[in-house]
Amino acid sequence: MGLALALVAFLLLATAGTTVAAEAPRIAQVKKLTGQVTILRAGGRLPAKIGDPLFEKDVVETGADGGIGITFIDNTVFSAGSNSQIALDEFRFDSSNFRGEMLADMRQGTLAVVSGDIARSTPGAMKIKTPTALLGVRGTTFAVQVYGEH
């Protein structure tokens, strides 16, 4: 009996997990592109196209001639220059009260940012991590460069 209940609970949890994964909300959209840009998602590599949705955990990678501009659903704007890699680690946003949390991992390259509703409604809720430092965003317009391996 206990085992059966545990099995049911496991199946319910497994199903719930699948549903969440299938309905992962879009967190941003590709708005502008130059050169070669790749989206790393779930172990795969996809060439980025204008209009593509982006999801939490996606990694955006620009080539030697690449550049990409994306706009998040909280109206934060990221634009990256060439030879850049940025992971969209965490993103939560409630459009009814404009609150949320955001953590991006800037691994390499150049990134210009115009922050949106998350940073405006909740100071400290938007952060950008680099290999050596943690950047806290009060707003609105700033840029980060992370040097590659020397």
Binding site: K31, V77, S79, A133, V146
Partner: protein
């Protein structure tokens, strides 16, 4: 004394030998002001809150440094060139008890449409509101009808219906706070975000 000077010199040489790992800079925004960011690294916390204020990360800590705007523009030229058209916000007003735009807002609607048309790809949010005249269900329906009217207009003008999200907030979130049962033209509105 000599020994301390030598130590200081050695640490300067060591620091200079460590490569810069990251650069952080506040950029001027469209309004001519700037942003404000904090950089936390090891024991150091650096706050940058003026246009072109810059900090670098080096040897396990961060510190403010001086860089010219010209240097900053060169370093971030590619990133800035990749910036898309920034999101924009519009507010259109409606006739009392109606989902029809005021004459002024019918003109202002063209600016909304023109803004959307210049974007290679777009997402639109239209959220309707009412003043406090009438009960909650009436105003909830009216606010949604106003947002739907905006979407209907944009779709008739050729935009993609799937890219337009609508919602109604009834007489909640007043732009101009009033008592209940108060007509207030500025509260009869749809807030539109284009990105």
């Amino acid at each position: 004394m000599m020994r301390r000077a030598t130590l200081a010199l050695v640490s300067i040489v060591l620091l200079a030998g460590c490569p810069r790992q990251a650069l952080f800079v506040v950029l001027p925004n469209a309004e001519g002001g700037g942003g404000a960011i904090t950089v936390e690294e090891g024991e150091t916390l650096t706050t940058l809150d003026q246009p072109y204020a810059t900090a670098e990360s080096r040897a396990g800590s961060s510190a403010p440094i001086a860089e010219t705007p010209e240097t900053i523009r060169v370093i971030f030229r590619g990133a800035i060139a990749a910036q898309p058209i920034l999101p924009r916000h519009f507010r259109l007003y409606f006739i009392l008890g109606s989902d029809e735009l005021t004459p002024e807002s019918k003109i202002a609607y063209r600016a909304v449409f023109d803004d959307i048309k210049q974007r290679p790809v777009y997402e639109i949010e239209a959220i309707g509101y009412t003043d406090t005249l009438g009960d909650l269900p009436y105003n909830q329906a009216l606010s949604l009808a106003r947002a739907a009217a905006i979407r209907g207009g944009l779709v008739r003008d050729g935009l993609d219906r799937d890219a337009i999200a609508i919602a109604g907030r009834g007489k909640h979130d007043l732009l101009v706070p009033t008592a209940d049962q108060t007509p207030e033209p500025r509260n009869r509105r749809v807030e539109i975000t284009v990105r």
